[in-house]
């Protein structure tokens, strides 16, 4: 087996806490992150059955404010941001003029002229560059607070009970896909009811200086609920099982939201122009995209992985972009792109080329897992 090491990585404010509780650290998107604290499958099931706490401080936070904040964002994403009410969040993508996805993100409307963008760690530099290069003609301020803010995610069916237990009543918790200012253990936070696991839960944005106290207290107070710290490995199996995409794998600048089967996130009646609109609408209306993302499950015990080829009727027809085990549903699953000259409908039998052998799989409905 071959194992590697990397140096010069950024550390989150929780780095020492992770080491203290025995996390295994790995490089991810330029950061040294906890990949697991104990056993990945157990961590996965803990989030599905109880609750888990994740350090996601590597992710980026950019605040957009000013009188043109709304119009500025309207130019950059296929979602109609004008429909967002105050305190509400929406999942969308930054698209380029060809409709390619620069990043996927959640936009939170904090106030009439103030928005928060939560972006992928690996894309902070590119995204901010993109925002700056498009700000001409807009009266906006672009405030990248990624280095000053930490973020922890509390996810799972007991997440809300845990917040209640530390003093935030359920009435005062944000509803799903909302964000609000809150005090947790006397610490000022931005509390968003969003996540990347397929479970209900929260993402908590807090100053770097205060995140350790919050992390330690949450873990200690959450213990009786079964709360455990969860590493990036389980975060990946959780998001895949929930059919959520990973930027850089399941979408890149060379895929449009239509190709990525994200048509449901596009406001088809949005009046304003946005970058890539012509291409995106043409693909929706003409159905002329050349590839399409599908979800599939293996029909034998083999495990699909990123970059394996997809075959249909013995012809190379696409590529796996994410794959692995889905511990809760007990299947081996994947996401991948199939050329649209081949069938992509649910139930289509496909094969995955694994170590020079074809292994049977079937296109299935996404998400693979839906919470009860």
């Amino acid at each position: 087996m071959v194992m590697g090491n990397e140096k010069d990585l950024k550390k989150t404010a929780l780095y020492e806490e992770h080491k203290k509780i025995g996390a295994k650290m790995v490089p991810f998107a330029g950061w040294e992150m906890p990949v697991q604290y104990a056993n990945i499958i157990e961590e996965h099931l803990t989030v599905r059955n109880k609750a888990g706490l994740f350090d996601v401080s590597h992710m980026g936070q950019v605040f957009i404010s000013g009188k043109d904040a709304l119009n500025f964002l309207q130019k950059l994403v296929p979602q109609d941001i004008s429909k967002l009410i105050r305190g509400k969040a929406v999942y969308t993508q930054l698209t380029n003029v060809e409709g390619g996805i620069i990043d996927d993100l959640i936009i939170y409307k904090l106030d009439e002229d103030k928005f928060l963008l939560i972006i992928n760690a690996s894309r902070i530099y590119e995204d901010v560059k993109w925002l700056l290069s498009n700000r001409k003609d807009f009266d906006v301020s672009i405030d990248n607070q990624s280095d000053n803010l930490s973020m922890i995610a509390l996810q799972g069916p007991l997440a809300s009970d845990i917040l209640e237990n530390i003093g935030l009543t359920k009435e005062n918790q944000p509803k799903r896909f909302f964000i609000k200012k809150a005090k947790l253990l006397n610490i000022d936070v931005l509390l968003a009811a969003t996540g990347y696991t397929g479970e209900d839960g929260f993402e908590i944005i807090v100053k770097n200086e205060e995140v350790c106290k919050l992390w330690v207290e949450l873990l200690s107070k959450g213990e009786k609920f079964g709360l455990k710290p969860i590493g990036l490995a389980a975060r990946d199996t959780l998001r895949l099982e929930a059919g959520l995409f990973l930027y850089g794998q399941d979408m890149t600048e060379n895929t449009t939201p239509v190709e990525a089967s994200l048509v449901w996130t596009i406001s088809k009646d949005k009046k304003e122009d946005y970058l890539g609109k012509d291409k995106i609408l043409s693909q929706i209306n003409q159905k002329d995209e050349s590839k399409r993302l599908v979800g599939f499950k293996m029909l034998d015990k083999s495990i699909p992985r990123h970059d394996y080829r997809i075959y249909i009727n013995n012809e190379d027809s696409g590529v796996v972009t994410s794959g692995g085990v889905a511990p809760f549903i007990g299947e081996n699953i994947g996401l991948g792109y199939i050329n649209t000259n081949k069938p992509t409908t649910i139930g289509t039998k496909i094969d995955i080329m694994i170590r020079e052998k074809l292994h049977p799989a079937e296109i299935v409905k996404r998400p693979f897992y839906v919470k009860k």
Binding site: M1, M3, Q36, T237, K301, I303
Partner: protein, 130 residues
Amino acid sequence: MTTDMTKVLCAKSHEYFIKEGKSLKMGVTDFAVEQLGDVVFIELPEIDSSFKKGDIFGTIESVKAASELYIPVGGTVIEINEKVIEKPELINTDCFGEGWLIKVKDFNEAEVEEAMTYDEYKEFIEEEAH
């Protein structure tokens, strides 16, 4: 089952073997298992297939990734552990015992001599880590 660790010989690629009369029992080391985490899939060669030292003889997959297995001593496969294919977690619980992978015959004694003892292997891992 406890393994006599003085009989365990290791390769830098984290596979081990134990001499059992005229055959070698092979598997992956406890260090490798710890690095891998939960083993969820194992692919082993067919009986009678022959390998030269360092050839890929199979694949081990954890939740995180698939890793290739390199044969620590060349030879011909006479037995594979069917139990471990059904229950890959045996590798996590007992990699030197129930979690063995293959047995090999017709090996070259000189290659056996070249391998590290388990103690030397542990030192090698320490050095790698620094």
